[in-house]
Amino acid sequence: MTHDESSDSIEPDGGAISSPFEVVSEYEETRSERYRKLYDAYVYAPLSIILRDWRARIGLTIVLGFLALGIIGPLVVEPTRVTEGPALVGPFENWEYVLGTDAQGRDLFAQVVHSTDTILKMVTSGALFTVIIGTTIGSIAGYKSDTPIDTALSSITDVFINLPGFPLVMVLGLLLEDHILGNPYAVGVLLSIAAWGGLARAIRSQMLTLRQESFVEASQAMGLSTPTIVFKEILPHLMPYVVINLTSAGRRVIFEAVALYYLGILPFEKLNWGTMLQLAYQARAHARPGALHWFLVPMVAIVLISIGLTLLGQSLDRVFNPRVRARHEKTTADIDESGETDEEPTNEPMGGI
């Protein structure tokens, strides 16, 4: 580096401006100042964005509610057993069995509570697996496009896009019975084994576009390393998309897991929403009057968490939009007061170059 040489040749420019490379450490940032900025950027701004959007508020409430149910619930609520109460008590009739009981007198509320943690574990592992594999393969293929690496990864992706996931999981579920029994994380991964293809293809094509962006080329010109470019420069652009896919993958895992347990294909140790449906169907609850709640309780749980995930996913992408962030950060918010608004295109109709 030869900055000192270059500063020698600087001509006084109007007098007032000092040499651009004259390093005087008069700029001191205190530790607390730095922490304040970090807090502002990573805690305050995202929270304030989320809390200002009704969709996010509802979604977050629901998802947090289920988390509480899954984590705290089992500690508070006793697991239920056969003939704990009378058979087929309707919901809200007996406060001991708030949501009623099934045909064998088991408390439905306790069943819901004690299956929530299993479901959440599957969701977590399945959604993370889908997104991590999809994003990794997609971004590598996209960044290395037109190389044999891309060709190989894209061909694999194409195969997985074409695989019908559900029948494959049925077959694999049978073969791997021993490995997934009592291991919800493994079930989540198994359910996602053929689900990452679409995401990988989409990420790849976005990567192809982003790779052409000038700022990526500028980073390459600056000699920044490839991991730095991919993870620090490009990945933030994919985050809104990744987050949406994370929540929709979670939803898919719930749907498919419940379906597989309902069909009685996956082995289980303790009851969950799917097995509740299965037991209800086998007991012909659909044909019996007074047994409707046996179906409804798990159904409501499934639909509710799914709505929560959908709403959260739809609104979380705003957290990654720098325009929205800037408005919510204290550090930069004042600049925006004068310039930008939420509805940005007001300047656009004016046109002109």
């Binding site: 580096m1 030869t2 900055h3 270059s6 040749s9 600087i10 001509e11 420019d13 401006i17 000092s18 040499s19 651009p20 490379f21 004259e22 390093v23 005087v24 450490s25 008069e26 700029y27 001191e28 940032e29 060709t151 894209s154 061909s155 962006e213 000038s214 700022f215 080329e217 500028a218 980073s219 390459q220 010109a221 600056m222 000699g223 920044l224 420069e233 933030p236 652009h237 990654f320 720098p322 325009r323 962030r325 800037a326 550090t331 930069t332 600049i335 925006d336 004068s338 310039g339 930008e340 608004t341 939420d342 509805e343 007001t346 300047n347 109709p349 004016m350 046109g351 002109g352 170059i353």
Partner: protein, 726 residues
Amino acid sequence: MTVSESDHQRRPAHHDPILQIRNTSVTFDMDRGESRVLDDVELDIQRNEILGIVGESGSGKSMLASALLDAVVDPGVAYGDITYRPTDGEPVDVLDLDKQGLKELRWETISMVFQGAMSSFNPVRKIRTHFVETLDAHDYDIDEGMERAEGILEDLYLEPDRVLDSYPHELSGGMKQRALIALSLVLEPEVLVMDEPTAALDLLMQRSIISLIREIKAEYDLTIVFITHDLPLVADIADRIGVLYAFEFVELGPTDEILEDAAHPYTRLLLKSTPNLEAPIETMQPVEGSAPDPVNVPSGCSFHPRCPLADDQCRHEDPRAYEVNANHPVHCHHWSTAREEISMTDDYDVSSVLQSTAVDTRAQSEEIDPVVSLEDVEVHFETEQSFFDMFSDSDVVEAVNGVSVDIYEKDVVVLVGESGCGKTTLGKTAVGLQEPTGGSVQFRGHDIWDVQTGTDTGIEWGEIRRSLQIVHQDPGSALNPHRRVKTSLEAPLKRWNKDLDGNDRTQRVLSLLEHVGMTPPNDYIERYPHQLSGGEQQRVALIRAMLMNPDLIMADEPVSALDVSLRVEMMDLMIQLQDTFDTSYLFVSHDLSNARYIAEKTGGRIGVVYLGQLVEIGTPEQIIHNPQHPYTKALCWATPELGVEKNTEEAPIRTIDIPDPTDPPSGCRYHTRCPNAREICRTQSPESFDVPDETAHDAACFRVDDDHDYWTSKSITRAEETVFDD
């Protein structure tokens, strides 16, 4: 005609306005208040004139265009009086029409060409369908209308059948633009409003379309309103020019008067800030400051914050229309003194010191080794490449073909050419961002791709990477929108100055920001790119490159995304930074005026690129006043001038459209468009010849060599007599 309400009734009757605009405003309701994007405008448009309307982006010019058809987009509202006066029949109030009335007015009487021809056609329907459905919607006879459409397309030098049977994406930008003009004329309107119809096009295409506009105006008996940000562009064709600033007209007058003797300080400053080929570069000065926000227009004269003549009166009193003469109103309290205060030729020193020293520098630099040396560089792209491609041949685009050029210390080379000619690829190859498929790129004597693969260990790859930098065309995408100014600018320091701690880095960034005039820098470093103006973004991108302390910066159209009045300022800043940091520049530009400004001010050279080949290189003086290659001549012809005398000479090209780069012409690649092409040009590709006028001037054309076989070869242009033939 007038811009003021006080005297429009007094205008004598020999004026024959086809459109009268009175007290017309356009407003938008926004969160932060009402935004007035056209403010109480008065204007008469005369029958059969070409009226040029000039304004910077966000000056309200597109709003005016939309208001003429009562087509302001929601949630904007236009109000006031716009009266259309037919030759026979009652005047019509445009803004008062019902749905049916509007349908009859739009396209049938007043038609419009938008700036976005690329997106003005429905992508899933053929061009022909667009014509048919338009005729059908207005109950015109379709056969007759299509015959007319074909006629218009032919007048615009297009092959009617081929164009009509294409989908929009199958046409080049210039073809689409001409097809759009034809579409706007198919219902035989009286008035044609053109909103930046050439903004997205290349110089030659732009120029050709401007010439065509003159022809179609005569042929189809039109009144044309031509809206643009580019003053020189309309100077040639407009009868009158109106200048918009901050949503109102500041001046309106006959073209000659506006160009020669403008009365408003803004017009005068704008003229001075516009680079062109003829005026001495020392007279080109930037307009300080930037245009106001529509919500917050300054009180009094809206130009006063940027005006050197502003006094208390300007700050408080909105200037009425003063009359320079009966045909030339101007909104300035000081219009009579403006012409002396803002001289068009002041501080112009004929014996330009800078120029002579600059030439010296270059002459010396010939002696020493070049920083970057390109030898016979080739870059060929294959358009399709994947696993199953073994079934077919892929198309090869020869983006760069056999280019050799040396760039020295503190040297400046400007590459000029049409879009798609490979100038950007060539530039990126020179700074090691694109690997050539043939030839070599050397940095201080080392082949940079040998260094990269490790075959040449004389120099570190990192050293090369640090020394060759790039500044992009679009400052908006050159900065990562997710990263603050501080993070973006500290990245190169983190990578290359590991000895600096966080505070030192920030300090360096702060002082550079201050150096380029972004004060207070503490305020700027925490911002995201979208919180900066275009000019500020470009400054940040520029200092990011400078922080690497590079030896050569490739600047890809660095000013073309900026407003006209800001371009000179940005180019001056770049020249000043070059001095400070001792670097060399490789500029890429499609605009010969900008190229000339940079090259002349730094004593650099201009290289002209056509279809991947460097066809001529020399000093700006040589390129502009003694062009040797016919293509350079065409570029000079196509560059709009601010002069009063009309540029009416015949176009020095035979076809408007550039050949398909995947299938370039044989021999001399320019022979398909060259007015001097002969048989030999079809088969033989000319080498670069030294032009005998001075040193450092080469052109790749047989005509430079007096003894060449070319002179005995048969001309191929006689057979195809037509100019502008596809």
